[in-house]
């Protein structure tokens, strides 16, 4: 703090007139208003932003398919399988209510600009049984084929438990990468753009990406917890 001259607190300009002392109740009410406003601010920021700066809790029964697994063989991903065109696919998981999904859209758009001619992009949109959720995805203006993922079943079959996450499949439907787009909450750290690095490695025919521990610690919104038992295959 820079040293301040005494002028600002000079007694000659500080009045001690009783009229200048605010009534105690005014001070109390104003203080409560400030505290309430700051509390609301902190709570909203926590609810909408800061909680997603911490790793998303891993579900107790989480059993992700291993890298290299033919994930399209799973009946849960039948919808995904039906649209498979024999090209690498990047599956983008999206939850309409998740702020992180909205902030992540720019990064996905950037990946599409780079790889759309060689990679198919598919969005798994978390929906209710009635299909609510797809309209929110349309508002993102992402030119991707969107699949309704009721209660996150497809995402779970792919080993995803939070949005936003990226899942990369090779042309045969084998799992190449599953994890974060980036460690930074706003996807601005280029050195940790895990999804981009995985796509580049796949297209270059390099060995599958060495999974980074930070890539697997998901940040974002949990998938719905109360999932009805999957229908029998």
């Amino acid at each position: 703090m820079p040293s301040m001259p005494p002028t600002a607190a000079s007694p000659r300009e500080e009045s001690t007139r009783p009229a200048d002392r605010p009534a105690a109740w005014r001070l109390v009410v104003a203080s409560l208003a400030v505290i309430a406003a700051l509390t609301v601010t902190a709570a909203v920021f926590w609810e909408q932003d800061l909680q997603y700066s911490l790793p998303t809790p891993v579900p107790a029964d989480w059993k992700p398919p291993a890298i290299g697994t033919d994930v399209l063989a799973d009946n849960e991903v039948a919808a995904l399988r039906a649209h498979h065109r024999g090209r690498p696919r990047l599956v983008h998981t999206f939850a309409p209510a998740c702020p992180c999904s909205r902030f992540n859209a720019d990064h996905v758009r950037a990946l599409m600009r780079t790889f759309a001619d060689r990679v198919d992009f598919v969005a798994l949109v978390q929906c209710t049984k009635a299909g609510h959720g797809l309209e929110s995805f349309d508002e993102q203006d992402l030119d991707i084929q969107a699949l309704a993922d009721v209660d996150g079943r497809i995402a779970r079959a792919l080993g995803v438990y939070a949005t936003p996450q990226a899942v990369l499949l090779d042309r045969d439907g084998h799992l190449v990468y599953r994890g974060n787009y980036n460690v930074s909450r706003y996807c601005v750290d280029r050195s940790t753009e895990f999804a981009r690095l995985a796509v580049e490695a796949l297209l270059a025919g390099r060995a599958p990406l060495q999974t980074d521990a930070a890539a697997e610690v998901a940040y974002g919104c949990s998938l719905p917890a109360d999932v009805e038992p999957a229908s029998p295959r």
Partner: protein, 582 residues
């Protein structure tokens, strides 16, 4: 010795000045917060952050509005302003995906806070933001796998620069606030000193006015006696030499009266206390009177006097004829004084005869000694004549032109001069005057009426309340010669008693008397007259200051006459009031 606790009322002035600054700043910050809110609503559409925008934005705005309404112009509200602005900075950063440019709002908000001129109120908001960042940096680096910052690890160097620059910004803004505050304090102190100096000057002026009034009174009182006695002697003196001496004595006395009048007029003009009356008068007649009055002096110096009034110059106007005469007599007197040979012309015209009010231009043109440009510059300054030689050779106080210009300007006009050394001078008086209709019938006093006036004064019972024995004797002599019966009183109380016992027809009341002064005596007489005949009371005072006149008239006197008053003037006053009471 300790200085006074609150010299010059400085604390109150300071408080008032800073209350004004805080109020203005509160208003400005309110507008700034509203602007941020508007911007936030606009930016909410980028990533659909509507919920955060309205909940956080309204919280930031609300906290300041509540503080401002409940505790306006207080330190609490100033601090709240800083905190509320930081809430909006955080909101904007969040709204645009952590865009680095949104951090610039941090700098604009603290720059705006300078308006409070209080460095202290910047710190609660700053410490809140810095504390939050440090907390998150610690969590970020602690292994809690919290990703708040862009970088995987927030090092000491990054933190140092991040907060260093922020602190530098807040420090700079704070220092600028201190400079502004110092400037405000100095300005308030200077204004207080100026007010004090102004009050002291006003007190000094009031003392000077009082001094002038008192001295004037003290001189006028004996002068009044002297001139009155000269009047009486002139009527009885037979020998030509005696009459010449008396004439010289009279002129000397009148010169003294003129000087006193000039000093008093100058004083009134300086204090802005000159009053102008508006009456219908004949401009042509006023100009002729002036020429007539100056005729003897011009004849003595063998100077020709000319009067030229343009046909289109209006005759009947509304204005102060007395002041117009005073100005013209002064100009004509100067013209004759500074003209050794040749002529003096008084000419009047109007440039636009159809204008309303009509502008009358009166010029006094002489063929006198003239002046150069430097002398002209000094001409209208008080106590200044063209040069020292002029003063030595021609005499005079040097007040006349200054007063004339003051009177002209007081009537909404102007007085200017043009001159050439050796060729003479031209003084131009420009006066806007309202047109007036000619009075239907002018009073022409016939010989018969004069006789009737004289008859009415005979046997008139006049109470003369005057403490100065010389003036008492003078007034008594003048009244007795007019046939009046004089009842004398030498102080105010005696005047009240004589009024009660003798029921005079008219009272001449000196204003300054022992025991009870003229004003108090008048009040007592008016109180005693309740329901009875009202006796006219005429104030006789050597004090011609305006407030003295007002005091007398407010007390119930009917007329105010300045001393010295000559025999004719006195009889005119008597006639006026006896005519009224008929």
């Amino acid at each position: 010795m300790n200085p006074p606790a609150n010299p010059l009322g400085l604390r109150d002035n300071m408080q008032q000045a800073f209350d004004g600054i805080y109020d203005r700043a509160d208003r400005l910050i309110e507008w700034l917060l509203l602007a941020h809110m508007t911007l936030a609503v606009y930016m909410a559409s980028f990533y659909d952050t509507w919920f955060v925008t309205f909940s956080v934005g309204l919280s930031g705005l609300g906290m300041f509005l509540v503080a401002r309404r409940l505790l306006p112009c207080t330190f609490f509200t100033r601090c709240t302003a800083g905190v509320a602005l930081q809430v909006f900075v955080a909101l904007h950063i969040y709204q645009l995906h952590g865009m680095a440019e949104q951090h610039f709002f941090f700098f604009t908000t603290w720059t705006a806070m300078i308006v409070y001129q209080d460095w202290r109120c910047m710190w609660p908001g700053t410490l809140l933001i810095i504390g939050q960042h440090i907390l998150f940096a610690v969590l970020h680096n602690s292994g809690a796998q919290l990703y708040f910052f862009e970088d995987p690890y927030v090092g000491v160097r990054k933190l140092s620069f991040h907060f260093g620059i922020a602190l530098f910004q807040v420090g700079l803004c704070g220092y600028w606030s201190v400079l502004l505050r110092r400037q405000t304090v100095a300005t308030v102190e200077q204004h207080a000193r100026l007010r004090e100096a102004s009050a002291a000057a006003e007190r000094a002026t009031a003392h000077k006015s009082m001094f002038v009034a008192t001295v004037s009174h003290e001189i006028r009182t004996p002068l009044s006696g002297m001139l009155g006695m000269v009047d009486l002697l002139q009527e009885t003196a037979k020998a030509p030499q005696e009459r010449e001496y008396l004439d010289l004595l009279r002129r000397s006395g009148e010169a003294l009266v003129t000087i006193l009048g000039d000093v008093l007029d100058s004083e009134k003009l300086a204090a802005g206390r000159v009053e102008f009356v508006t009456e219908t008068f004949d401009v042509h007649a006023a100009l002729r009177d002036v020429v007539h009055l100056m005729g003897k002096r011009a004849t003595d110096k063998r100077i020709a006097l000319h009067l030229a009034i343009a046909d289109e110059c209006p005759r009947w106007v509304a204005g102060d004829s007395g002041r117009l005469r005073q100005i013209l007599l002064n100009l004509m007197s100067n013209a004759i004084k500074f003209t050794a040979s040749g002529e003096v012309r008084l000419q009047a015209r109007t440039d636009d005869p159809f204008a309303e009010p009509v502008t009358v231009v009166v010029e006094v043109v002489d063929t006198g000694i003239g002046m150069d440009s430097s002398e002209l510059l000094r001409l209208f300054q008080p106590f200044q004549q063209a040069n020292v030689e002029t003063t030595r050779r021609y005499g005079g106080t040097g007040l006349g032109l200054c007063i004339s210009r003051g009177l002209a300007e007081g009537m909404g006009g102007s007085l200017t001069a043009a001159s050439e050394p050796g060729r003479g001078s031209t003084f131009t008086l420009v006066l806007p005057l309202a047109r007036a209709d000619a009075p239907r019938q002018r009073e022409h006093k016939t010989a018969g009426q004069s006789n009737a006036d004289a008859a009415r004064l005979r046997g008139l019972r006049v109470l003369v309340a005057e403490d100065n024995p010389n003036n008492q004797r003078l007034l008594t002599a003048m009244l007795k010669r007019a046939g009046c019966i004089v009842i004398a009183a030498t102080d105010g109380r005696a005047a009240v008693e004589r009024h009660r016992d003798s029921a005079p027809d008219l009272i001449l009341m000196d204003c300054r008397m022992p025991v009870l002064d003229g004003v108090e005596a008048t009040r007592a007489i008016r109180a005693a007259e309740q329901g009875r005949r009202r006796t006219p009371i005429v104030a006789l005072s050597a004090d011609s200051m305006l407030f003295e006149r007002d005091r007398c008239l407010e007390a119930g006197m009917d007329e105010f006459c300045e001393k010295p008053i000559d025999g004719k003037g006195l009889l005119e006053v008597l006639r006026r009031h006896t005519a009224k009471s008929d």
